[in-house]
């Protein structure tokens, strides 16, 4: 057991190091990061100054070691847009907004999906089942920025009952959370429905029915419990993706989270912040995955025996 946990930790560390390598590689892709960071009209003197300032005049391997050494201490250099501000600080300042949006999104989409998926599976081929299937397909096929625009049009422009964008009062979070949650609800409804239907075909469900249990008890006591593992996988996946910042939704609603920070820092050529942002998101994702994997060992003893 301890060995398994240690192995998973080691594996995650390797992935994190790989993520850093990839981030470093992307920014050095075009050969001269200084040229991309500076506006095209910058003169040779500016270029040289920034190059020396960022240590980019040294050989690539040296730069990489310096980059890793900095990253491990959370030091990605200074933001190029807000001089004097550490890049990582920018990311951390934006994180609460992303966290809020993620929490509200999960808070409505997860219970909705669990309920709708379970009912759809239990009442197979009923009206609710068909409705759930259509909703799920629609939710997965709507591009989120388009859905966001439509919601803004209806709720903010036509009816004028909700703010269209920005961050502040509790009302601001509703439209982005609705937009973002549509996809998660759709996907999760499908997962719950198909998982539940599979569980309901198992022998132990037939046994439970055969011994005369009411259908409600069969579902609540026997079926739902066996959905725990797929549902934990699902929630882990959701949280990982949600913490990664909803790049599109945050941008459409001008929500100041880390996803929008990624777009902003690309548009403003603020590469240290982009590096810190991407690293932070990957770190969150790997961390959540690690937690989910460790949860399995507790939920499902079979995993431990491997």
């Amino acid at each position: 057991m301890l060995r398994y946990i240690l192995a998973r930790f080691l594996q995650s560390t390797v992935v994190i190091l790989g993520v850093l390598l990839l981030v470093f590689f992307i920014v050095n892709l075009t050969g001269d990061p200084v040229r991309i960071m500076l506006p095209p009209e910058a003169n040779q003197e500016d270029v040289e100054r920034l190059r020396v300032q960022m240590g980019l005049d040294r050989p690539l391997p040296v730069q990489f070691v310096r980059f890793i050494a900095g990253a491990v201490r959370g030091d990605f250099g200074e933001s190029l847009r807000y001089r004097g501000q550490p890049a990582l600080k920018q990311v951390i300042q934006r994180f609460p907004a992303t966290l809020t949006l993620a929490a509200v999104t999960l808070a409505w989409s997860l219970p909705a999906a669990l309920l709708l998926g379970t009912i759809a599976a239990v009442r197979h081929n009923s009206i609710i089942d068909n409705l759930a299937t259509v909703l799920a397909l629609l939710g997965q096929s709507l591009p989120s920025f388009w859905l966001g625009l439509i919601l803004i049009l209806v709720f903010a422009e036509q009816w004028n009952i909700l703010p269209s964008s920005g961050y502040g009062g509790p009302w601001h979070v509703l439209l982005p959370a609705l937009t973002l949650g549509a996809f998660f609800m759709a996907r999760n409804t499908r997962l719950v429905r198909s998982g539940m239907r599979e569980v309901l075909e198992q022998d132990y469900i037939r046994t439970a029915r055969a011994k005369g249990l009411a259908e409600r008890i069969v579902v609540v006591r026997h079926a739902i419990k066996n959905m725990a593992i797929p549902v934990v996988t699902m929630i882990g996946l959701d949280i990982g993706q949600l913490l990664g910042g909803a790049v599109v939704t945050e941008t459409v609603f001008a929500w100041p989270g880390i996803g929008r920070l990624a777009i902003d820092s690309i548009l403003h050529r603020d590469f240290p912040v982009l590096e810190a942002d991407v690293f932070f998101i990957a770190l969150a994702f790997v961390g959540i995955n690690l937690i989910v994997d460790l949860l399995y060992t507790w939920l499902d003893p079979r995993v431990r025996v491997r």
Binding site: Q11, V14, V15, G18, V19, L21, L22, V23, I26, V27, L29, T30, I36, L137, L138, Q140, S141, P143, S144, F145, W146, L149, I150, I152, L153, E157, Q158, S194, G195, E198, Q202, I229, P230, T233, G236, L237, Q241, G244, G245, V247, V248, T251, A262, I263, I266, R269, L274, V278, I281, A282, F285, V286, N289, V292, D293, Y296, L299, D300, R302, V303
Partner: protein, 310 residues
Amino acid sequence: MPTDGGATTRASNPGETETPNLRGRSEWRRALRSLAKSRTAVVGVFVLSVVVVVAVAAAWIAPHNPNEQVLERRLLPPAWLDGGSRAHLLGTDHLGRDILSRTIYGSRISLAVGFSAVIISGLLGIAAGLVAGFYGRGYEATIMRLVDIQLAFPFILLALAIIGVLGPGLRNVILVLGVAGWMVYARVVRGQVLSVREREFVEAARAIGASDFRIIRRHVLPNTLAPVIIVATFAVATCIITEASLTFFGLGVEATIPTWGSMLSDGRAYMGTAWWLTTFPGLAMMLTVLALNVIGDWLREFIDPRMRNL
């Protein structure tokens, strides 16, 4: 999906453990029969066919040049509304360009980006998955760690970061989406190879002295393709949405090319007054993606119901 969870321990239906080989003639007939039985899939195939035909024949179908600006005919509503014109069935945008023609031409970019990107990532992923599954050991460990690393980035974030460095443009968008998506194929193909590798026909081929390359090409590869087709169908849909999102943020296809993403981005400022600017390209994109998703669902049921959670 987590790298190695316990979620896959669920039982599968007996009798469906064999993935069908898509090469045989009778398999095609079986596929057609199964397709005919699924009403939604038939609709999906129909919608996608229409979109493909429209994209190919855009130059003949479109009533106007999609970039032609007639400023005195700005923001005309669709033909059935007051003030609409029969010459512009779906109205015109803020520069007097025909919405219908632009939506028709936009399908070209969406399909081109979707399919090209998926071909690139499919080829990369299949190659990586074959090597990882067939040779195992160091190759497998390295490739699967690479998969883990890249999966730690949200797809669109990785695409954005690379675009941010390479610069926008149609070619770069295709390249970036292609490179950003290979991991899923690698993972699926590796899984298939692991189970095929130990089968008798591979052993037999090896016994008669076939080279690794021949074994992979003739015996392993064909048996891994069925799930790849499922993954690819959904990936085309994802790539279409991602391209439109990138273009919407001004980080995608050049502004001179009419695309659904750029139409949405242009129309955004007029949402309250001229809803048709954003509605029609959005609907077109939704229908295309919906069709692809429906087809993917049917393929999954047909080829391998165990892959429901893919």
